[in-house]
Amino acid sequence: MLIYGLALLSFSYLVGQWLGELLGKLIGINSNVGGVGFAMIILMLLKELFERKGWWKHEIISGIDFWNKMYIPVVIAMAASLNVKAAISSGNLAIVAGIIPVIFAFAFFPVLMKDFRQN
């Protein structure tokens, strides 16, 4: 059943967010710390468990896969609802902070790959 996959995803999401809130409270920050990361780890663990038990079937997968594939559309919607005007009108830092790190990464990673192949 499709809803099983969706429910599994929802379970991982809620437990992860809960842990994030608890961790946030524990270290004295009044916000969610690592909730999404915890949720991802829980989902991966559950997937391992389900695979071992032979429960990881097409129907379950497609319930999660829908949201997996919705990631890019959600990011597009997020981009459209960001405060772009404030980012641009408060100077060019937003643009520079987007471009310069990418240039660094493009410069660095080929070197890393080459080093690794030689070893």
Binding site: I64, N68, V74, A80, F108, L112
Partner: protein
């Protein structure tokens, strides 16, 4: 017209699905016909999304981009933190511990260095632009990390 607006108003999230679908379709078309697929349609769609976010901000004076225009309220719901985090968690489905082990040391090193490069250079840019307090520096550094 009034009736249509009423339907849009009542079903904001559904309007958001339609709007993002159309935007993605147009971007895909542009990518294939004009750019011969050199830049993926989804990248163009995200860029167009940012442009629309800017336009929305200019028209309404609000801080939620296109979502401040009442008809497009649902775009803000779809792009809000709930759906965003839910979709991100779903992407973990494609990951598996076997593949993570396979990517091994190189994978781990590139992950860590990638995050460090984005964070440190983001903070450095903020420093150069005259920000000095820890909260602003960390926000801009982490922002560079997540968005890139």
């Amino acid at each position: 017209m009034e009736e249509l607006l009423k339907v849009f108003d009542k079903n904001a999230l559904i309007v958001g699905f339609l709007a993002i679908g159309l935007l993605t379709y147009l971007s895909d078309l542009f990518s294939r016909k004009v750019l011969n697929g050199r830049i993926p349609g989804s990248a163009i769609a995200i860029f167009l999304g940012l442009v629309l976010g800017y336009v929305g901000g200019v028209f309404t004076g609000g801080d939620k981009g296109l979502a401040d225009i009442p008809v497009f309220h649902g775009v803000g719901v779809l792009g809000g933190s709930m759906f965003r985090d839910f979709a991100i968690v779903a992407t973990a489905m494609g990951a598996s511990f076997i593949l993570i082990k396979k990517s091994g040391l190189l994978g781990l090193i590139s992950l860590i260095i990638g995050i460090l490069i984005f964070f440190i250079s983001g903070v450095a840019m903020a420093w150069l632009w005259g920000y000095r307090n820890a909260v602003s520096l960390a926000t801009i550094g982490a922002g560079a990390c997540t968005f890139i």
